[in-house]
């Protein structure tokens, strides 16, 4: 049989996207040069790895875990102990490889704990991960030799021999270490989705019964995926230990696990790049939003609720749906609706936000006086006029938003049917 010549073109789009990603990682600290932004960028890199590793479970395996922080956190602990061993001169590994130590630790704990958790899937899986997370967190307060008790374990990342003058003393050097790890890990996790194992994991998520019939052990597939997710989570944890130089018990806590779940979902669990968006949002929310308003957890919870109800695919799915519309050149028909939706939503949220801020003000710092500054306006939290004005703004916004939404739904439906028709026409033309 003659060898068949196969023409396989370079996937130009893929090369462009990955080069852009590398470029963004390289150039970001040159654009945002302040101290705060470098720290935030470093945290974003860590969060990207953590959220993507979480998405191996949630998005690709359909496993809703409430205990992912166990693996990032234990990775952090092992990495900081390794760092201290390096500082003491007991171990001779370069500091840049310490995240790998964290990764291996995360993997080992995933091997151990995953054996129990992945025996089930679906809702029982979620509850068991919750139980295991509580177990580890409660243990962290009991064994103070390893976990450092309330104060945590601290280390100094300037340890061992400097490699070409890189001591990891300045934050920017740590950023580039994190950026390198982020790029490699994202690439590896993307590659994982393309492997047969990654594909069968998707099948296990969608129809486990059928997968059993074609001869796979779904439990084992889940277990292996869990171990891989644990490895990447551990790397994220190790990087976190190097970045902050201190590890406290909250890194294995339920709050951290909940944040991974929340933001991975907000970013979009159904697309590979969704968790990246989620991770960036997570750092912005934790660093900036928490400074801006005391009510940020309430906003976060409400956004999450609405997202689950109206856009279960997260931000990534919204982007992809609109890209599809744009691809067929229909975005022009609908942009006015978007403008209307945006404006009315802004009015509505401004009214609601002002009321929430006033309530928080009354509850938390009423000693500081009755005035609340909100978006440039000064409101009197105890004055009837402010409350009435805010309610008026909110309900006006709500009414107009509803009108816009109805118009938008009609247009959106029309466009979708047009696109379906177009696709059918192209298929028959071929």
């Amino acid at each position: 049989m003659a060898a068949v010549y196969k023409f396989k073109p370079y996937n130009v789009g893929r090369w462009v996207i990955w080069s852009l990603f590398a470029l963004v990682l390289l150039l970001a600290p040159l654009v945002f040069t302040s101290n705060l932004s470098t720290t935030m960028l470093a945290q974003m890199g860590i969060a990207i790895i953590a959220c993507l590793s979480y998405n191996i479970l949630l998005g690709q395996g359909g496993m809703l875990s409430f205990g992912h922080a166990v693996y990032t956190g234990l990775g952090s602990y092992l990495a900081i102990h390794a760092l201290n061993a390096v500082s003491a001169g007991k171990w001779h590994i370069p500091v840049s490889l310490l995240p790998i130590v964290g990764g291996i630790a995360g993997m080992c704990f995933a091997v151990l704990l995953g054996w129990v958790t992945t025996r089930k899937s679906g809702t029982p899986f979620a509850m068991i991960t919750l139980g295991v997370a509580e177990l580890v967190f409660a243990m962290s307060l009991m064994f103070s030799e390893f976990f450092g008790g309330e104060a945590g374990v601290s280390g100094n990342r300037v340890a061992g021999e400097a490699f070409f003058g890189i001591t990891f003393g300045p934050q920017i050097q740590v950023y580039y270490l994190i950026a390198a790890y982020t790029f490699v890990c994202v690439a590896l996790m993307y590659a994982f989705t393309q492997t047969p194992l990654g594909r069968i994991l998707n099948a296990v998520r969608d129809n486990p019964e059928r997968v059993e019939f074609i001869g796979y052990n779904t439990q084992r597939v889940r277990y292996i995926a869990f171990i891989i997710a644990g490895f990447f989570a551990g790397i994220a944890g190790g990087l976190g230990a190097l970045n902050f130089e201190i590890v406290t018990a909250e890194v294995v806590g339920a709050g951290r696990s909940g944040a991974y779940l929340l933001f991975t979902f907000l970013g979009g669990a159904t697309f590979f790049f969704g968790p990246i968006i989620g991770a960036i949002l997570m750092v912005i929310a934790f660093v900036l939003l928490s400074e801006l308003t005391k009510a940020w957890l309430l906003y976060l919870g409400l956004i999450f609720l609405f997202m689950v109800m109206y856009a279960p695919g997260g931000i990534a799915s919204l982007i992809m749906m609109n890209l599809r519309v744009a691809k067929f050149g229909k975005l022009r028909q609908i942009w006015t609706s978007y403008l209307g939706l945006g404006l009315t939503a802004f009015v509505m949220l401004a009214g609601a936000g002002a009321m929430i801020e006033m309530v928080y003000h009354l509850q938390l710092n009423s000693a500081l006086g009755d005035t609340v500054k909100f978006m440039g306006a000064t409101l009197n939290a105890k004055g009837l006029d402010s409350w009435f004005g805010c309610a008026f703004v909110m309900f006006t916004g709500l009414g107009l938003f509803e009108l816009c939404r109805r118009q938008y739904m009609i247009e959106w439906g029309d466009i979708q049917t047009e696109i379906e028709k177009e696709i059918k026409r192209r298929e028959t033309a071929v």
Binding site: T123, M127, I128, E134, A254, L305, V308
Partner: protein
């Protein structure tokens, strides 16, 4: 002996409180397949509503009204959000309740503040239900209510008298839980509503085609389940502390109860709650570690080993993790739970 009896009763009452919560959770889970992550949040709302209402109208009306209020909130939540995400599958349903738990926690902190509120039980429940008097000469005796001071005071130094009171709130908690258990069982097995619920549970389409409004049944069950959590909240909040962290402390334990008892099994939930309540209460009360064990056995330990935190760990310190340890053991040796029938 009196230590054993009082601890046993404390454990039982705590277990029954857990059952009040886990029964609602199990009921909702077995009917709708929804794991209500915010169940403990409804428990917390119940406690806070009870606190506010008892300030206005007294404890006993609040005990009735607060659960109704919480149940109405639960039904509303089901109607507005859960029903919308029901077609998307179980994971979004779980996520919606997860988001709700965040929102509820924030709202509670917003309305009632971040520190604990003083939610005291009414006068009649503040004293002891009964007191066990262990008299080293006369043996053990039981006195209803608080024991008079002279009964607890030793007449002379040679006689040792120990009075162990059992709080009335805990007795009341047991009473309510048992009443609830019986009425729930009667409702499910002996009434028409119970029959419809059971039918909607196993054959939703058939029940629907027979003319029953299955979504409304779901809504009512959700409301009833959260209402039970609210009832537990009023009682639990007045017995223990009413604070924003109360949902988190009890929340994960009731999930453990539901898994250990077997998903969707009401009797399993009962058994598991009582078991976990008793185990945890006893563990808290016992100050025993490997170190004391080694001393009792006459083993000599080196100074370094004696200083090890694992060896020094007392059983009372381990108590918080016992339920989770129990969960892991059950999953390894009996994956479907104590009385569960389905696996996975």
């Amino acid at each position: 002996m009196e230590f054993f009896i009082i601890s046993m009763l404390n454990g039982l009452s705590y277990g029954l409180l857990l059952f009040m919560l886990s029964s609602g959770l199990t009921l909702i889970f077995s009917m709708m397949g929804v794991l209500n992550f915010a169940h403990a949040s409804f428990y917390m709302i119940g406690a806070y509503f009870g606190y506010t209402l008892s300030g206005w109208i007294g404890f006993w009306p609040a005990l009735v009204l607060a659960p109704l209020f919480v149940g109405a909130c639960g039904a509303l939540f089901e109607r507005v959000t859960l029903r919308k995400v029901h077609p998307f599958g179980h994971v979004p349903e779980l996520l919606v309740t997860f988001g709700l738990s965040y929102v509820v926690l924030e709202l509670v902190q917003l309305v009632w503040g971040r520190t604990a509120v003083e939610f005291a039980p009414p006068e009649i429940l503040r004293s002891a239900a009964f007191t066990l008097i262990n008299h080293s000469a006369n043996g053990m005796s039981l006195v209803w209510g608080a024991a008079p001071a002279e009964a607890c005071a030793a007449a002379d130094a040679a006689v040792r008298v120990v009075c162990s009171p059992f709080p009335a709130t805990r007795a009341f908690m047991m009473l309510v839980a048992l009443l609830m258990l019986v009425s729930l069982w009667l409702l499910l097995t002996h009434t028409r509503i119970g029959l419809v619920i059971q039918a909607a549970l196993t054959h939703p389409e058939m029940a629907e085609s027979l003319g029953h409004n299955v979504p409304r049944v779901f809504m009512l069950v959700f409301g009833a389940g959260t209402g039970l959590a609210g009832l537990a909240g009023v009682i639990g909040g007045s017995t223990f502390v009413t604070e924003p962290a109360m949902a988190a402390t009890v929340g994960s334990v009731i999930f453990v109860v539901v898994v250990v008892g077997g998903m969707g099994s009401l009797s399993g939930a009962f058994l598991a709650s009582v078991l976990i309540g008793v185990i945890q209460t006893f563990a808290v009360a016992i100050d025993y570690s490997f170190l004391t064990l080694a001393k009792d056995m006459g083993w000599a330990l080196s100074a370094a080993t004696q200083d090890n935190s694992f060896v020094k760990l007392t059983l009372s310190q381990v108590a918080p993790i016992l339920p989770y340890l129990f969960l892991v053991l059950i999953l390894i040796f009996r994956p479907k739970g104590l009385l569960g029938t389905r696996e996975g």
